[in-house]
């Protein structure tokens, strides 16, 4: 038997960076006063338990694909990259209303990106940070040069307005980042993982087939708040610390901490566990945007930059965590 021919391989850039960030926030701003009646609650109660004052709910012309396109155009403009130069689109979401096909190829087509690799990933609130990790490895491996990473949700479609545990928590929006080759390391190693034994803690309440067979109507997402709180604070603070250690960075050297915007109580408790220094700017976009799952980290990042809370070149620790349960964290330099 003849020996197999050697297969050619690719190598990419030694280092990567986030070259652009973009965001889309739906037009309609929904204050707590619109939520409270159905859950027999109050603005004060919601703010005490979550920090949330308002959220954005998407309407006509603001589908998962529409919002992704808008956020992506801003990210590409900031990066100075034409859509045709995008080699891959990685879109993180749990609320695209088609089981198939994925949203990413449609977004790529809308952008005029030609025929890039394009696929969705399902890692819920950790989706964007998973996407950054994939993009980083794709650019380093030589399978793509510029990767568009999108985190997008239209959770209002999958939220029960009468569920006291979730009705006030979720919001809609999209954030996008471009990951590109770099002369210096500007995206650190990702610390990621999953705890599938806890999958029921945050979950669609029934499967699609149960919905059909038992005539249950429309699926919504449920959450066991106390269990999520314990896991997020005492389980995820060590993951955030590991991401710092993996990057060879200390909390003192950070300019910003951008955790998934799950709940302000989780954010504050994580900061306490991590002994986050006073000078580090902590993203608290949750107050105005609520919990937008996969979109929350890029939305919060875009806001920090747009409002000048941190500047280009800032060193940030970002961490996503949520349904799965799945998590991913990395240190990045902001564009």
């Amino acid at each position: 038997m003849a020996s197999a021919p050697a297969i050619a391989t690719t190598t990419g850039s030694a280092h990567t960076r986030i070259s652009g960030i973009g965001a889309y926030r739906p037009r309609r701003v929904v204050p707590n006063s619109e939520i409270v009646e159905a859950i027999d609650s109050s603005d004060e109660w919601i703010q005490e338990r979550s920090g949330i004052k308002t959220r954005h709910f998407a309407g006509d012309g603001e589908s998962v694909v529409d919002m992704s396109e808008a956020a992506s155009r801003d990210a590409l403009a900031m990066a100075g990259i034409e859509p045709k130069d995008v080699d891959a689109v990685v879109l993180a979401t749990v609320s695209h209303p088609y089981q198939t096909p994925a949203a990413a190829p449609i977004v790529a087509d809308r952008l005029g990106a030609g025929n890039p690799a394009a696929f969705d990933i399902s890692a819920a609130c950790a989706g964007y940070c998973h996407g950054i990790s994939l993009a980083h490895d794709m650019v380093r491996g030589g399978s793509a040069r510029h990767v568009l990473v999108i985190g997008v949700e239209r959770l209002s479609d999958f939220t029960s307005p009468t569920d006291r545990g979730t009705a006030f928590i979720f919001g809609d929006g999209a954030g996008a980042a471009v990951v590109s080759p770099s002369d210096t390391p500007q995206i650190g190693p990702t610390v990621w993982g999953s705890e599938g034994d806890k999958w029921r803690v945050i979950s669609q309440n029934e499967s699609w087939t149960e919905m059909r067979d038992q005539d249950l109507g429309w699926p919504t997402i449920g959450m066991q708040g106390q269990s999520v709180f314990r896991w997020a604070v005492w389980g995820m603070a060590p993951v955030a610390q590991k991401a710092l250690d993996a990057a060879g960075v200390t909390a003192d050297q950070l300019d910003a901490f951008i955790p998934h915007q799950a709940n302000i109580r989780i954010i504050d408790a994580m900061c306490k566990q991590l002994r986050m220094p006073e000078h580090v700017v902590v993203a608290r976009d949750i107050v105005d945007s609520a919990n937008t799952s996969a979109a929350s980290v890029p939305l919060a990042t875009e806001r920090l930059l747009r409002e000048g809370q941190v500047g280009s070149g800032a060193l940030a620790l970002q961490i996503g965590f949520g349904a799965g349960l799945s998590y991913a964290a990395q240190v990045v330099v902001l564009p």
């Binding site: 005490e48 338990r49 066991q224 708040g225 106390q226 269990s227 709180f229 314990r230 604070v233 005492w234 709940n263 109580r265 408790a269």
Partner: protein
Amino acid sequence: MAQSEQEILAGLAEIVNEETGLDPEAVQSDKAFTDDLDIDSLSMMTIVVNAEEKFGVRIPDDEVKNLRTVGDAVSYIQSNQS
């Protein structure tokens, strides 16, 4: 060595004070965490985690809802301390 009920109560009062600012004297066995002390579910979880560390016990998520009063928590901790 297992601690006495009074020692656990005093330790728990310290933890509650740190989380909520409540006067430790207000943390008595007959008080309900939610109805009397106005402690919400997330603060309760913080108290539980700190109690686990302080008293060397494991309090599973499913058990937390059974800890209605301070006395319930003291009893649980006492009977589960190694």
